[in-house]
Amino acid sequence: MKTITVRYFAMFRENAGLGEETLQLEASTALDVFEQTRDRHGSTEPSGHCKVAINDAMADWATPVSEGDTVLLFPPVAGG
């Protein structure tokens, strides 16, 4: 188990009812974090339509996560 802080944005934040929480997860990659928190962020989107950052750096879904990381889950963006 790893202690991971997960941050939710936009619709994910509204679905979760909070912007950030620290969880104990059996997660090896950013994708594991996304999947294991799906009941919280409520995404109906596949991960490929969303983006992820780890410790304030953009990451890939296959990027490994480590104890104490902060994982930022971004729903599909819509600037402009």
């Binding site: 944005f9 619709m11 983006k51 953009m58 729903p75 599909p76 963006v77 819509a78 600037g79």
Partner: protein, 141 residues
């Protein structure tokens, strides 16, 4: 330069950042808040921005544009917060020695900003409903 602003965009001030004695032209794109989307009457828009990464990713976009379409000056400002119909939501300006670089670089910057920066748009409708908008390219990608 890229910036996120929760205030109205001061276009005259931004234009001054594009001044360069080597520039022969400037190309500006302004994105405005429109009163309709997908057949629904829009009352206002709300932008949520994760500024630390929006700025980093925006600077990357501008650097990529400069490498492909050498220009002299570029500025992009995106709004956050609540916006009314007709407000300027995003402003991109590029000045270059010749128009081709200015057109192409400004097009590249706005296209990439819309689909790469951590920015989310919520539409508030006249009927009282509201919804987050998904970028079409991301949703289809």
């Amino acid at each position: 330069m890229i910036a996120i602003s929760n205030q109205n965009i001061d276009i005259d001030a931004l234009r001054r950042h594009l001044t360069n004695p080597g520039s022969g032209g400037v190309c500006v794109f302004e994105g405005w808040v429109r009163n309709e989307n997908d057949g629904r009457d829009v009352l206002r828009l709300e932008y949520e921005v994760y500024e630390p990464l929006a700025v980093i990713e925006g600077e990357k976009v501008i650097a990529e544009a400069k490498q492909q379409f050498p220009f002299l000056e570029a500025v992009c400002v995106h709004r956050s917060g609540l916006l009314a119909i007709g407000d300027c939501a995003v402003w991109v300006g590029v000045s270059a020695p010749h128009r081709d670089e200015a057109f192409k670089a400004s097009r590249y910057i706005i296209d990439e900003v819309k689909t790469r920066l951590p920015i989310w748009k919520k539409e508030h409708y006249v009927d009282g409903d509201s919804d987050w908008v998904n970028c079409e390219r991301c949703a289809n990608g």
